[in-house]
C-alpha cells in the first residue's frame, strides 16, 4: 500500500506538491484563526509601522493593522472570491459549453461567437469598467460576482472542445444505437470522462479568478475595508512602502500569494496528468 503510494508520488509529483502547498496554506489559516485575534486586522488596533517583533510577528502597517492578523483574516477572503467566482464560472461555463457542443447548430454558433470574442478582449479591463461603474463600496461577495461574470468564458471553451472530441470518438453514437436516451448518455458515458477535465478546469478558473480579483484590488477597485491580500498590496503601493523600506508590509502578502499560485499551478499540472494519460512521464 505504502509502496504503491510512493510510486504514485514519483509519477505525479506535481499533484502532490500542489496539495502539500495548499495544505500548508490551509493549516496557516486554520491555526491562525485559533491563535490570532482577527480583530487586530482592523486599522488602529496596534501602533503603526512596527517591524516584526514578539508582539506583532509580522509587523504592523501604516494604519495600525497587525499584519499577521491581516494575513490570517485576509487569505480566506481572497480564496473565497476565487472559489465562488471559479465555481460559478465553471458551472455556467460547463453547462453552456456542453449545450453548445451537444446540440450544435445555431446555439453552438452563438455561444462560440460570444466566447471567442469575450476571450479576445482583455478581461481585466472589462472588469475595471464594471467595477468602476458599480462603485458603491464593494463587498467581497460582490467582487466574486463581478469576476464570475467573465470567468465562465474559458471553461465554456474547454468543455465544448472536450465534448466535441468525445462526440467524434463515436461512443456517443454507439450508446445511442444501443438504445440509451439522451440524458442517460450524458450521465453514464460523457460525465465520467469529463470529470478529470472539469477538475483541472476548475482549478484553473479559481487561479484565474484570484488573479483577476487581486488585480482589481491592487488598482484600488476592491472592497476597501477588507483585509484581502490584494487590498494589502494596494495600501503598500499607496503608502509607498517600498521606498520607505517597510519590507515586512509586503513580504507576507507576496509570500502567501506565491504559495497560492504555485500550489494551484502544481495542482493543475497534476490534474492534467490524470486527465490526459498521454502526457505522463514526459520529463
Amino acid at each position: 500500500m505504502a509502496h504503491a503510494a510512493w510510486r504514485y508520488v514519483r509519477r505525479n509529483l506535481s499533484l502532490v506538491v500542489g496539495i502539500v502547498l495548499l495544505g500548508l496554506l490551509a493549516l496557516f489559516v486554520g491555526i491562525g484563526h485559533l491563535v490570532v485575534d482577527t480583530n487586530k486586522s482592523r486599522p488602529l488596533s496596534a501602533p503603526a509601522i512596527r517591524p516584526p517583533s514578539a508582539d506583532h510577528p509580522f509587523g504592523t502597517d501604516r494604519q495600525g493593522r497587525d499584519l499577521l492578523a491581516t494575513m490570517v483574516a485576509g487569505t480566506p477572503l481572497t480564496l473565497r472570491i476565487g472559489f465562488i467566482a471559479g465555481f460559478l464560472g465553471v458551472g455556467i461555463g460547463s453547462i453552456l459549453g456542453f449545450v453548445s457542443a451537444y446540440y450544435r447548430g445555431a446555439v453552438d454558433s452563438i455561444i462560440r461567437g460570444i466566447v471567442d470574442i469575450g476571450l479576445t478582449v482583455p478581461g481585466l479591463l472589462v472588469l475595471i469598467i464594471i467595477a468602476v461603474s458599480l462603485r458603491k463600496g464593494l463587498t467581497v461577495d460582490q467582487m466574486a460576482l463581478i469576476v464570475a461574470s467573465l470567468a465562465w468564458l474559458n471553461p465554456a471553451r474547454t468543455v465544448r472542445a472536450q465534448v466535441l472530441s468525445m462526440r467524434e470518438r463515436g461512443y456517443v453514437e454507439v450508446a445511442r444505437l444501443s438504445g440509451m436516451s439522451g440524458p442517460e448518455i450524458i450521465v453514464k458515458e460523457l460525465m465520467p470522462n469529463l470529470l478529470p477535465y472539469l477538475a483541472a478546469t476548475l482549478v484553473n478558473a479559481v487561479s484565474a479568478a484570484i488573479l483577476a480579483s487581486i488585480g482589481l484590488e491592487v488598482l484600488g477597485l476592491g472592497p476597501i475595508d477588507s483585509p484581502t491580500l490584494g487590498m494589502t498590496l494596494y495600501w503598500v503601493n499607496f503608502n509607498a512602502a517600498l521606498i520607505n523600506g517597510w519590507w515586512w508590509w509586503w513580504t507576507a502578502p507576496i509570500a502567501i500569494i506565491l504559495v497560492v499560485f504555485l500550489g494551484l499551478f502544481f495542482l493543475t499540472v497534476g490534474l492534467d496528468e490524470i486527465a490526459n494519460p498521454r502526457l505522463r512521464r514526459v520529463i
Binding site: 470574442i117 478582449v121 482583455p122 478581461g123 481585466l124 469598467i129 468602476v132 503601493n237 521606498i243
Partner: protein, 334 residues
C-alpha cells in the same frame, strides 16, 4: 477562399470594436451616477465652496460634455466620436482631452509591452524547442523547474520583489518612473539611456515570467509533434536529426504556439497594466490607475476602448499571418 477567411476575421474585428464601444457606453450609466456632478461635488468639498449654484454649474458642464441630451442621441454621437478616436475631455484633468493623454502614454506602453512580448515569445519558444531536443546539453534540464515555478506568478508580483532586491537594497536600477525627474525628453543619448535604465526592471518582470510560459508550451508542442507519424517516417527516411528537428518538428510545433500568442495577448496586457502601476511607468496602465482614483469616467472609457481596439487589431494581424505559416488553412473554408 483566402479572402473569405480574411473577410470573416475583419468582420469579427469590427464586431469587437462595436461591442467594446457599446459596453463602454452603457455600463457606467447603469449605476445612475452622473460623473460630472460627482466630480464637481468632490471639487467643491475640497475647495470649501458653498453648494449654492452647484446645479447651475452641473447643467453647464453637462451641456459641455453633452450629457443633457436623450440617451440614444448620446449613444450615436458617442459612436461617431469613437470612430474618430475623440473621447471627449478628461473630467479630472479638464481642459485636457482624453485622446491627448492617451497619445502621450501609448508610446511608452507599446515600447515596453511590444519589446517584452516579442522577446519573451522568441526566447521562450527557442528554449522550449531546445528542451525537447534529445541532443540538448544536460544542464538545460535544470532550467525547467525555475521556469516552471516562475511562470505561475503574476508579473507585478515579481516586479515588487525585483524593486526591493535590485532597486532598493542594491540600488542597481531606479525604482520607478519612465525617466529621471529632471531629465529633458529628447532623442539624446543620455535621455535614451535614462529611459532604458528605467525600463529594465519592468521589462525583466514581464520577460522572466512570460518566457517560462512560452518555453513550457513550446516544449509540450514539440513533444506532441515528435510523436507524430510523419516524424517517424522522417526518421525512417534516414534524415539527419537536425533536419528532422527543424523542418519536421519545429515547423509544425510553431503553429499552435502562434495561436497561443494570439490568445494570450489579452492576458499579457492585463499583467502589463499592473506592472506599470507598480513601477509608476508612464504608460497606459498608470494613466488608467490615476483615472480610476479620480473617477475620471471619460478617461477610463477612452483607455479601455483604445486598448480593446488595439488588441483586436493585433489579433487580426496575427490571424492574417497564420495562413502563411500553415498551408492547410486556405482550404478549410471550402
Amino acid at each position: 477562399m483566402r479572402l473569405d477567411y480574411l473577410a470573416r476575421r475583419c468582420g469579427v474585428f469590427v464586431l469587437i470594436v462595436w461591442i467594446a464601444a457599446t459596453l463602454n457606453f452603457f455600463l457606467p450609466r447603469l449605476s445612475g451616477q452622473d460623473p460630472v456632478r460627482t466630480k464637481l461635488l468632490q471639487q467643491a468639498q475640497l475647495g470649501g465652496y458653498v453648494h449654492a449654484g452647484i446645479d447651475a454649474m452641473v447643467k453647464d458642464y453637462d451641456r459641455r460634455f453633452g450629457l443633457d441630451r436623450p440617451l440614444w442621441e448620446q449613444y450615436l454621437s458617442y459612436l461617431r466620436d469613437a470612430v474618430r478616436l475623440d473621447f471627449n475631455y478628461s473630467i479630472a484633468n479638464y481642459p485636457r482631452k482624453v485622446n491627448e493623454m492617451i497619445a502621450e502614454a501609448v508610446p511608452w506602453t507599446i515600447g515596453l509591452l511590444g519589446s517584452t512580448t516579442l522577446l519573451s515569445f522568441a526566447l521562450g519558444t527557442f528554449l522550449g524547442a531546445l528542451l525537447a531536443w534529445p541532443g540538448a546539453p544536460r544542464w538545460m534540464r535544470y532550467l525547467m523547474p525555475p521556469l516552471w515555478a516562475l511562470h505561475a506568478i503574476p508579473f507585478f508580483l515579481l516586479g515588487l520583489v525585483l524593486i526591493y532586491l535590485l532597486a532598493f537594497e542594491i540600488q542597481l536600477f531606479p525604482m520607478f518612473g519612465g525617466y529621471s525627474g529632471g531629465a529633458f525628453p529628447g532623442f539624446t543619448v543620455t535621455f535614451v539611456w535614462d529611459v532604458i535604465r528605467h525600463a529594465i526592471l519592468p521589462a525583466m518582470s514581464i520577460v522572466l515570467v512570460a518566457t517560462g510560459g512560452w518555453a513550457l508550451a513550446m516544449r509540450g508542442m514539440m513533444v506532441t509533434t515528435q510523436g507524430e507519424d510523419y516524424v517517424t517516417f522522417a526518421e525512417a527516411k534516414g534524415l539527419r536529426s537536425l533536419t528532422i528537428f527543424t523542418r519536421y518538428c519545429l515547423r509544425n510545433a510553431i503553429l499552435p504556439q502562434t495561436t497561443a500568442l494570439a490568445l494570450a495577448l489579452g492576458n499579457i496586457l492585463s499583467g502589463a497594466v499592473l506592472v506599470e502601476v507598480i513601477f509608476g511607468y508612464p504608460g497606459i496602465g498608470t494613466v488608467l490607475f490615476h483615472a480610476i482614483r479620480e473617477n475620471d469616467h471619460f478617461l477610463i472609457q477612452g483607455i479601455v476602448f483604445t486598448v480593446i481596439v488595439a488588441l483586436g487589431l493585433a489579433t487580426l494581424i496575427l490571424d492574417a499571418i497564420y495562413p502563411l505559416l500553415d498551408p492547410r488553412i486556405n482550404y478549410r473554408r471550402t
